[in-house]
Amino acid sequence: MIEVVAELSRGPVFLAGEALECVVTVTNPLPPTATSASSEALAWASAQIHCQFHASESRVALPPPDSSQPDVQPDSQTVFLPHRGERGQCILSTPPKILFCDLRLDPGESKSYSYSEVLPTEGPPSFRGQSVKYVYKLTIGCQRVNSPITLLRVPLRVLVLTGLQDVHFPQDEAVAPSSPFLEEDDSGKKDSWLAELAGERLMAATSCRSLHLYNISDGRGKVGTFGIFKSVYRLGEDVVGTLNLGEGTVACLQFSVSLQTEERVQPEYQRRRGTGVAPSVSHVTHARHQESCLHTTRTSFSLPIPLCSTPGFCTAIVSLKWRLHFEFVTSREPGLVLLPPLEQPEPATWTGPEQVPVDTFSWDLPIKVLPTSPTLVSYAAPGPSTSSITI
């Protein structure tokens, strides 16, 4: 028996283009006091990152699989295929890297290997939607002699900051020294540089505040004014908005604001006809604020953008956009009396109406949601940062 443990020390969330580092520890769990006969051997272990794509049959019409490319999935169990046995197709993978070969472990012995790979920038972000799923995994395949390959899958989350992949590491070679004795710690520098650049860009995109005011009116008149201070947000931020109902002419009984994502299958992949065809657009609500606001003149809301959600993106097959979806329940009669008239006749008590005929109106305001620091996202993901398997 050999235990293989993979640990992503920084957490399971990465920005595309960042280097992933995973420590793989193989342990012979037998106590060291056991006899030497129980030493265990692994023929090899190899690791690879891949992105698995899966589309809902009822929503996405994918072109028939390319038959010119032979299905390389052989029966033999000796080929390392990280996506073996998974649904969908592997749309992206890094070259496999060998971690070790012919490893022998005495009882109680344990060895650690570090696997490091740069996450490809050209892929989609991790996303689990209604129509499509993009799932990233680090797969560690191990094989004992004369046994089938065992796969240990470590789920990853990849955030994509668009525009980052076009930027190249500044090659300051022109001015740089050329003595071969200068230690170049390029990869580390590049990694932190990338994270820094991503941070800067996100900061620049999301820190700018300016007031946007929207007059909300139904067919009969003005309901109120909606104010929002930003249009671009990062994951984990709060969408803060204000609602001024005091100046409206139409009474609003209730409003709700939902922070939603709209997942839309691109036209060429939409499934047109047939039974059981689901709509090509689906909405998911991530946060919602609902309020009865009949006697409220000013109110505000703050909706947290969950760290576990996917920022907006667009691939050839699907696009994901964020929006605020409003629903207003407004009085159908224009002059709904909310306060007693000033010149009140006797008797002196006044009570509000029991029933108010209402209509509902909705309104959508698109917003942009960008990723945030992957470390921050990792913090928010509870659960172990290690995966393990016993062979």
Binding site: P95, L99, S116, V175, P180, G246, T296, T349, Y379
Partner: protein, 1422 residues
Amino acid sequence: MYFLSGWPKRLLCAPRSPAEAPLHVQSDPRRAFFAVLAPARLSIWYSRPSVLIVTYKEPAKSSTQFGSYKQAEWRPDSTMIAVSTANGYILFFHITSSRGDKYLYEPVYPKGSPQMKGIPHFKEEHCAPALNLEMKKILDLQAPIMSLQSVLEDLLVATSDGLLHLIHWEGMTNGRKAINLSTVPFSVDLQSSRVGSFLGFADVHIKDMEYCATLDGFAVVFNDGKVGFITPVSSRFTAEQLHGVWPQDVIDGTCVAVNNKYRLMAFGCASGCVQVYTIDNTTGAMLLSHKLELTAKQYPDIWNKTGAVKLIRWSPDNSAVIVTWEYGGLSLWSVFGAQLICTLGGDFAYRSDGTKKDPLKINSMSWGAEGYHLWVISGLGSQHTQIETDLRSTVKEPSILLFQFIKSVLTVNPCMSNQEQVLLQGEDRLYLNCGEASQAQNPKYSSARAERMPRHEKSPFADGGLEAPGLSTLLGHRHWHVVQISSTYLESNWPIRFSAIDKLGQNIAVAGKFGFAHYSLLTKKWKLFGNITQEQNMIVTGGLAWWDDFMVLACYNLSDCQEELRIYLRTSNLDNAFAHVTKAPMETLLLSVFRDMVVVFRADCSICLYSIERKSDGSNTTASVQVLQEVSMSRYIPHPFLVVSVTLTSVSTENGISLKMPQQARDAESIMLNLAGQLIMMQRDRSGPQIREKDSHPNQRKLLPFCPPVVLAQSVENVWTTCRANKQKRHLLEALWLSCGGAGMKVWLPLFPRDHRKPHSFLSQRIMLPFHINIYPLAVLFEDALVLGAVNDTLLYDSLYTRSSAREQLEVLFPFCVVERTSQIYLHHILRQLLVRNLGEQALLLAQSCAALPYFPHVLELMLHEVLEEEATSREPIPDPLLPTVAKFITEFPLFLQTVVHCARKTEYALWNYLFAAVGNPKDLFEECLMAQDLDTAASYLIILQNMEVPAVSRQHATLLFNTALEQGKWDLCRHMIRFLKAIGSGESETPPSTPTSQEPSSSGGFEFFRNRSISLSQSAENVPPGKFGLQKTLSMPTGPSGKRWSKDSECAENMYIDMMLWRHARRLLEEVRLKDLGCFAAQLGFELISWLCKERTRAARVDNFVVALKRLHKDFLWPLPIIPASSISSPFKNGKCRAVGEQMLKSQSADPFITPEMDAGISNIQRSQSWLSNIGPTHRDTDRASSPGPQMQDAFLSPLSNKGDECSIGSATDLTESSSVVDGDWTMVDENFSTLSLTQSELEHISMELASKGPHKSQVQLRYLLHIFMEAGCLDWCVVIGLILRESSVVSQLLGIAQSSEMDGEMLQNIKSGLQAVDRWASTDCPGYKPFLNIIKPQLQKLSEITEELVQPDTFQPVTVGKTPEQTSPRAEENRGSCSHGSISQSEPGSNNVVSRKEEDTTQADEEEPLQDGAYDCSVS
């Protein structure tokens, strides 16, 4: 605790008219309805949704008779409201709900609309109940009414004529009673005299009063500013039986509010401070508990200008109090006086452009349900309303605002203090701190963090902030995990009353009005009761807690009218069918879980302990509870409502030293009970006959009775203990942590004898230490020695509103409030306290157990810093200074030197003398650093020395450090030291540093940063004709006579001084044949290697022993010694792990024709390999290393393969894995692997054989670089050595060419010749692998020796060629003149050939130098 959230909400108000402006708000006892008074109007509002239900307008006629409305008071059952008016009337209104459950504002959707129609309880949740309001009675009290209080079934009214009227809600007229205050005796306490003084004069009346049920009496404020407490001597209120106590020192009271749970009376004073009193249980006297005061430090411009305290309101759960002043502003304090919010400072008081805002004035306020809202009637004080002429200004107008709050779950569910998470609950969402807390429980993580920390190196001369590196990453993470409570649950069960999180922080449970729901942070899903009737039939009464994945809750069963204790499993459906239900005899008020025990506190003041056990029969898993023990507390607890929290702990007064089995996990040793702020401990009574616990079954074992209670501390808000155990951190884990509001925190720390010696009998085993922290503590991380808390933060949005009409928008008036998580280290406080108490040994034990924490250095530094600041700046002499003790304490840690210097650099210079008087002479400390090889710290001390000592001393030390840094290759430090030494020099000189003169373009001498050098290198490569050795570099060399000029200029002198040191170091490196170090040194410090080498050509740059040099280079550059493949005896494959592939390879190797020692074959060999490299890419460097033979070579592979620059990571693994797999040996497996890459066996063997004789690529590049440098500088003997190691015959041919040119140094040639002979001898005996190559270069050597022969003879002749080399004006040139080569000899025929080839070589090399690419150095000579 309470935190403001977002912006306040504004509610609709009547259009402006003086009679309609709201002035008072009063909630009903259930906080579902709010009565809002305007001068002539009473309105009843519903709390959720906040809508107006009914309103009554006083007709104008009667309004003038009654005067304007003033105050309102609800009858406890919410069926009546009493309103007092200005002219002394009380109006009684009946509130009745309409028949047939009518609701208001029910939305009627158009037909066919999909809106919620059929949802049960829709109306209840979304509509307000319809109420009727009817004035029933009018009572004329003949005097202005000062205060109204509902007391049980009576209404107590204080009037300005000094009377207290007791009016029965029902029979108002006949149940009326009046007490004349002047007949009530007042005294300081109840003991001293039964007959106290009377108020004495007639016109004293009560200004404000509030009834305190748990003290059974009134807190009153008199119109003359005196305050007091009136209590009935017997059970009924009559004048004869009332008695008053008062504190003598309060004479400016303005208002009062009582806290029933903590039995506190808060009196507002005209000075602006709030004095909080409690009643002494034994004497009955009023005792000052604490004060709520703004400090001058925090609010310098407002602290004494707030005006009188206007209103005080305790929160519904009694854990916080809100205070407002005449001048305006809101402030929120915890029950024992920790300040949470004050709107008189910061963003509340100032706009973003820095101008001051008018503070919000509050006329009346009332808390909403569960404290989520505060209803506020805002506006200017009544006296100003008329003056205000600006009618556009809506803000000045009274309006109803709703402030929203978020509170800590600890306020209502104190069992949560077992947890290490911060959980806050808002009206519709929960805030959970994410990240570290859960990891903190895993020791692996904390150690990993600790390891990561010190690696973060700071530049020793960069001024660091107070934050230690890495600390910010640990503490600075302030993000919240926000969980929105399921709206389905919330709609029918608002408000949320309790919430709890499980141990791992992955599951949350909430309980509202009815039932409960839970949420998993992993699946992000809520689980609600499947059967809504079950939900609506239970009310959680006594809190809820997690036990593993079970929820334990105390509830009331509405259908059976039964108190119950229920346990639900998280993973099963939320249904009573899966619950374990135990009937309880009494209402449960509090509940908590300790390990496998549930402790409940009941309304009959009894504590019941249950054991909880997991039971699984098949698929069905449940947990069941069994009563273990019941303890009646009614003797000690006057009222069950006073109990704030009950917990079981393992804390006891004994530390287990005397216990039989100290190793065992400690049991539930004691009950901690917070009784109105008094922390009471009851330990198990071990004095009785001991029961051998292991003999009996754990479930049936008799539990020990409890001792009588002991009071541990006063004014306690929260208590934290842990049930975990950690032998390494016993101090921290077995301690009891208390938060005491304004008094900070306290820790009840166990004291352990050192080395398990017998404890002193006189030494207490525990000690209570108070300490101050700046945050409000919400969770204690035991192992991490951290306290987590939260603070309000504010964001201003006012700058976004530019229109002037928007000035009064709420978003402009108020900042947006958010809650931020904070954390704080407290260890330094505790250590210091222990040191103060002469418990240094304990402090040491504690500190050592925490030394692995990442911020431990920071702790020491903080402690030193604080003590230093305090004692050094103290005005009076300190009789017993602590600083020496602290200093001595820190010496115990290896961080001592670092701590001292960091502390020093963060304090003013003026305090340094004081500091170093305590910790020791900085010179000694500096030397200690050097001895400890801690150069960075030593560098920090230099700054100190520079300021405290004369320049000579600091320079001397700097030199010392510089040399050590050079020796150790700390290049960054070297660069800093160079700058530092220069700075000292320039500071020393009296005259301003002169600018370099134009004659000295390179006055920086041989010391230039490498950028310049690399430029000059390429210049020389391009422009200098071959054979001239780039001697124009002499420009930068200080020539003999110019030395005097240097000394004139102090800066230049410094440069000179530094150069001398650099030269000396370089010389040493060269003499010790440390070429690699020399290369690094030159590259890192920009040392002008070529010019220096030119100078040293015949001195240090000579090779004295070729063999030693060769060997050393092989070793330093990890270059394998060549082997003769034919002699398989030396083959590495013979030893040990030889595999089939290896064998094969070996056979083919020996048969390989390439290896035959022939010159041409060798060259083609190189070419072949080159082509292979380009074909297959650099991957095969792996192969090369893999197959490179020799056990002595193993070391080479273990070296840091940091050549990440080249793109060589095809297929296999990264560098790290590579090296780690090398550690594991078995490279032959890798070979096998490579054979899959469609290489034929022979090709592979050839490549591997070829590459086997080479070292790492990087070494090759470096060696070639050095070769180039030496060639430039004319150090030909070094060139030969490097040529040998690289096995390049071209070097020798080149050499030959140079030797035949005019400038060749005969002595050098002689040296080369003898050296090569030595190498040859050595190769023959020790290293036959060199033989083939030596044979290749034999012809050239032959020529060389011929030249040498020739040279030796003309050596005696007169030198001819001096004039020909005008550049050689240096003294060195003169020395060498004697051995200078003859120009005529260089014209021999083969020589000219070689010159040409060298020229080519030179240019190719120069070209290749820049890109520095793999394989580019494989030059071929044809």
